[in-house]
Symmetry: C2
Subunit: 503 residues, 2 copies
Amino acid sequence: MSRLLEEFKEYLKEMNQYDHVTGLLQWDMQTTVPKLGQAAHVDALTYFSTKSFEMGTSEKLGEFLEKLAQPAEYDALDDTWRFIVKRMKRDYDRNKRIPADLYEAFVRAAAESGNAWEEAKNASDFSIYAPHLRNMIEMTKQVIGYTDPGKDVYDALLEQCEEGMDQATIDRLFEEVKTELIPLVEQITAKKMPENPTFHAYADPDAQRRVQWLLLDYIGFRRDAGAVGETEHPFTTNFSSKDVRVTNHYYETEPLSAMFSAIHEGGHAIFEQNVNPEYDNTVAGSCCYMGVHESQSRFYENILGRNINFWKPIYEKLGELLPQFKNVTLEAFEREINRVENSMVRTEADEVTYCFHIILRYEMEKAIFYDHVPVEKLPELWNQKMQEYLHITPENDAEGILQDVHWSDGSFGYFPSYLLGSIYDGMYLEKMEEELGSVDEILADGRIGEITKWLNEKIHWYGSTRTPKEVIAAVCGKEVSAQPLVRYMKKKYTRLYGLSEEA
Amino acid sequence: MSRLLEEFKEYLKEMNQYDHVTGLLQWDMQTTVPKLGQAAHVDALTYFSTKSFEMGTSEKLGEFLEKLAQPAEYDALDDTWRFIVKRMKRDYDRNKRIPADLYEAFVRAAAESGNAWEEAKNASDFSIYAPHLRNMIEMTKQVIGYTDPGKDVYDALLEQCEEGMDQATIDRLFEEVKTELIPLVEQITAKKMPENPTFHAYADPDAQRRVQWLLLDYIGFRRDAGAVGETEHPFTTNFSSKDVRVTNHYYETEPLSAMFSAIHEGGHAIFEQNVNPEYDNTVAGSCCYMGVHESQSRFYENILGRNINFWKPIYEKLGELLPQFKNVTLEAFEREINRVENSMVRTEADEVTYCFHIILRYEMEKAIFYDHVPVEKLPELWNQKMQEYLHITPENDAEGILQDVHWSDGSFGYFPSYLLGSIYDGMYLEKMEEELGSVDEILADGRIGEITKWLNEKIHWYGSTRTPKEVIAAVCGKEVSAQPLVRYMKKKYTRLYGLSEEA
């Protein structure tokens, strides 16, 4: 190893210490910190994010990257370090244009906006949040003005979340989804499925925690490299492949919620736990493409978790932990976990109407950044679109525009990733069945480990070293298309709801 | 405010950021981090502790303190900042003599030793821990050699934990305790108290968590400035008066354990939550005297929590949360929580024999630092002393010398603080009853808030600005003595065990 590379690695190690504690501060802010302790955490977060930003945009780092990109050094690097140098150089050139004081103000504003969002949601009062949202939108535009001068702001945001994606591509893919799924949902919702109160009966939160561990263990979450916290809104975060954390909530009368959150976040976590550990603490490790990431959480949650065969090997155990399920046949359970209906809240939506929740948010974000609709008009626009796609109107903003945390910390352009993830899943599923045979049979046999292994080897291992388009090309050998997802949904719901085959 | 003072405050603010994240890393290492994530946390902890140490021993800080100690600046300071400057100057002069690489090695060794202790305890194998303990002893001697050259090492350690305390004073106080309590315990243990299996029946951990909150709320723990975590060994930590955290464990068949841990840690926490908030993030805030700190946790746990009157206002509620207590009279409950017997584990011991657990550890520490007994002889010495004071012998080292975490991170000299705390409690109790009237009556009336207020105003508010001797002088107006504690115990246990009055 050259002396330069050695010094560069030392530099990265120090930079990583700052990222390590900012990650920990964020984890703690979500899971533990008391109300009055928030402000000190925000101060520390601002301080250490700024330190990390300074190191990530310093002259010294610029020199390292400049020198390492020269043939004399670059040619001697292995593939991993070539990727790291190239990727960091690109990000460096973009980020060093952001003024340090703007970055610091952005970090602080995001933390404060997060608190305001929470308060607004609890009070169901958009006006508490509006000035913060306006501020986050304006600051986001300013930041993009520096990182991607001359580029359409929303395209730049999409590119940040899912490299290679832009409005033109997403418009095409989402149009395919709309064309096919709108009539499918109409057909489904014309059929009424009876309610079963068992699914909304009291379920001991402690037993729900045990079910969560049953599920996490079952899908392959590694306890020695993972932890679980409790938050209102479940999420996954990681420090490296060796420390990956998920959170969950435990609604006393909605046990399915924690179960599917566990599988969803578990999917994210299994991804991170199985990235090549040599990439730990570099830009090569930890997948930074949100669509690719969501494709894994959603593959576990929907393609696997909402398949009756997933439950066959563990259904008895589930009944032992949550006795109410003893009175429910596996077939009734399957119908319940695939109940399709137009509903208010994205995170509780079924996998079919979920698509419309995303399309709505995508259109909202285009309205914000492309059409410049003012913040105070957004709740009304939200409600209009809810009517258009889901034929219902929120009773208040808490179950409407305030339901999601994302915009509060400036994560604009993230929402489309969820649907892109499902679109990728349709493609993975077809390829997986070509290579491994029927997923139904694998699941029914309790061989879910084979599926996880396939995903580990084809996708997880590469971390961030493959862009979304490269992942799809490597795994499926074709361009991205929504057709496989649509085929999967039509086949599944035609059977489940006894629809006519032409649907 | 002078420009110098302003710059000094900025400097402290930055230094505090490092302390903030080292505190958070330690909290997370105890409560959450998965096995494979430990190493990265140790790295970060070492990095940021070292940063903090560098700032705490820098030339720049030395200059600030030198200049602020000059009359021109010092005379213009208020009392708080005079204390801060004096205290920091004293600590600076001591700490700057420690070589930076020794400090870094100490922090890392302490973290590794903590892991080794845990492994050794789980395996009940002292040999896993022995080399780490030897190392911590040697490094501690080295550090003290720099901070307190020429001073007796163990006296220096005692002084660090409880300013103003030395072996001579502690020998005198502990001798008073031994003289009076050895015959008392003999009298008590001659009487057999029947076992009641209800106290060892299954108690839902979730219900135990609810009981914990009942108790924390009842004694005045503020939720908006506090949080609760789960660890094998309960502890309290704080970032400021606004973020104070306790932990607990929930043994399925030992509900009393979590209840009294909640009250004990709650006592520590109430102390920290009620320090003058102007002292936050300075050496004036957060009480650094361990005996004074333990006096508060032990006042709540023992003087209040083991008093039947404490329970009168909440006993019905307790029965609702843990139904097994519905079948136990309050009188039987009182007897159980005051059951005195010689037992292996300090943290589970009653308040009387607890004293001997501490005297044993104090003598062990004197053996280590004063008599230089080698590490491999310590388990044998431990077991000898267990026989001498408690007339029992541990079956293995896990329930013997490995039971406590303290030595693993170099907290030598801490143990005496627990008994010093109880000794102070005896004195506080007598003074409190002089000023407020009968504690029995106050508790029975549900006026526990008056007791907390008294402790807040007399003790908590001052944080670290009063040394232990100053606290005792200000609150009680006399020298430290163990007689009030002895009087309290003799009176209480003579009644409870029906002993003859001369005991």
